[in-house]
Symmetry: C2
Subunit: 205 residues, 2 copies
DNA sequence: GCAAGTATTGAAACAGTATTCATTACTTGA
DNA sequence: TCAAGTAATGAATACTGTTTCAATACTTGC
């Protein structure tokens, strides 16, 4: 029954969202789903098989939300800002799950899944950057590299706060700061506007 | 004998540098150091105790090198660039060890050590940024946040290349790209020079 | 050369989980 | 109601390394 399969996935995700991956052993998943341990193995080859899917589903929701934030008719810098804010805001809402997706130590196999998870983020930013370069609003540069660095920067900035107890009063400043960082990382506007007026970029090319 | 202790640390680090943490079981460490497995436990409480120290020592060398790169009488943006280049260049040289320090999945206890490892890097960048703000060469902003994001950006950018076979011909572009990203992340020069001439920053404060 | 103390050995014990599988309980079509 | 087939159980097992410890070999002071 496909319903049982879903309930296993839901149970596993709920456990991760509550206490992290460390909290999600197979007996615990089974208990949460009101089934026996052994039954899980009729639906999933192995534990990493199961959690690969758990992480992929959770990641996909995040990525969809960011893709939606990117899908607006605004200048590239605004779109980068929107995506960064969406990423950060949602992570701070789903703290434990976000932490598990971003940083919690897990098995090597699942860690591979986590690396995949960052690629769609990178691609969202990279697409915006390429568009910005085409329009002349962002200087020529390696879009993939900068997009990767932006994703890393956001993640690193969030890991600290996510690993500590929530501090709601600081969240808004954090989100703004992260977004600001991302826009800055795009570099100054194309050469005509900035470099002629004192923006120091002599070492960049 | 303190010499035995050293040889254990050296053996453990050598194994990590050759095949990653996964390659460094206690019997392997003992074999490499030409002692018995049990003896390690007269010098170290536990495996994570041992590897905490291995990682700390290795990290300290990297941090010292970056601190030295930061310790020059140059404008803040140049200093950021130097540190970033040093970080990236050294990581690409000591690939396997750098990967273990930056990203390889390890035990939860050792992972904590890895988080500590990034703090000194953050502090190096944060100090430069504060100095730059004081001098008016960098716009007012949360120095710790930006420094954290920069470290995350560098790390994320390196993880991919470090996890794949070396491609020496691309390394120089990678190092330059990373450094460029870091300088950009500092934002435009203070308001008087840039914002009056078209650099878009309206959403930043 | 002999104790007393210290370093070293390595095989065996242990721990924590994932995984299996013989058994039992359902479900369904005739 | 009864088979035949499928879902489900959960205690036993397998596995993967770390950690222990009784036994042994050194070292050093007397």
């Amino acid at each position: 029954m496909a319903q049982t399969r879903e309930s296993i996935l839901d149970a596993a995700e709920a456990l991760v969202a509550e206490g992290g991956y460390a909290n999600a052993g197979m007996p615990a998943v089974a208990g949460r789903a009101n089934i026996s341990t052994g039954l899980i193995y009729r639906y999933f080859e192995s534990k990493s098989d199961l959690f690969d899917e758990v992480f992929r589903r959770a990641a996909q929701r995040e990525i969809d939300a960011c893709a939606a934030a990117a899908d607006v008719d605004l200048p590239p810098r605004d779109r980068v800002q929107r995506v960064a804010e969406t990423f950060a805001r949602r992570a701070l809402k789903g703290r434990q799950l976000a932490y598990a997706l971003l940083a919690e130590p897990v098995d090597a196999t699942i860690d591979a899944e986590r690396l995949h998870f960052r690629i769609p983020y990178r691609d969202i930013f990279a697409a915006i950057i390429r568009d910005g370069i085409k329009r002349g609003e962002i200087a020529e540069q390696d879009a993939d590299l900068v997009a990767t660095a932006i994703v890393g920067g956001i993640a690193e900035t969030l890991v600290g706060p996510l690993s500590r107890p929530p501090e709601p009063e600081r969240e808004s400043a954090l989100i703004q700061g992260v977004a600001r960082f991302c826009v800055h990382a795009l570099g100054p506007v194309a050469a005509d506007a900035a470099s002629a007026h004192g923006f120091q970029e002599k070492r960049d090319e």
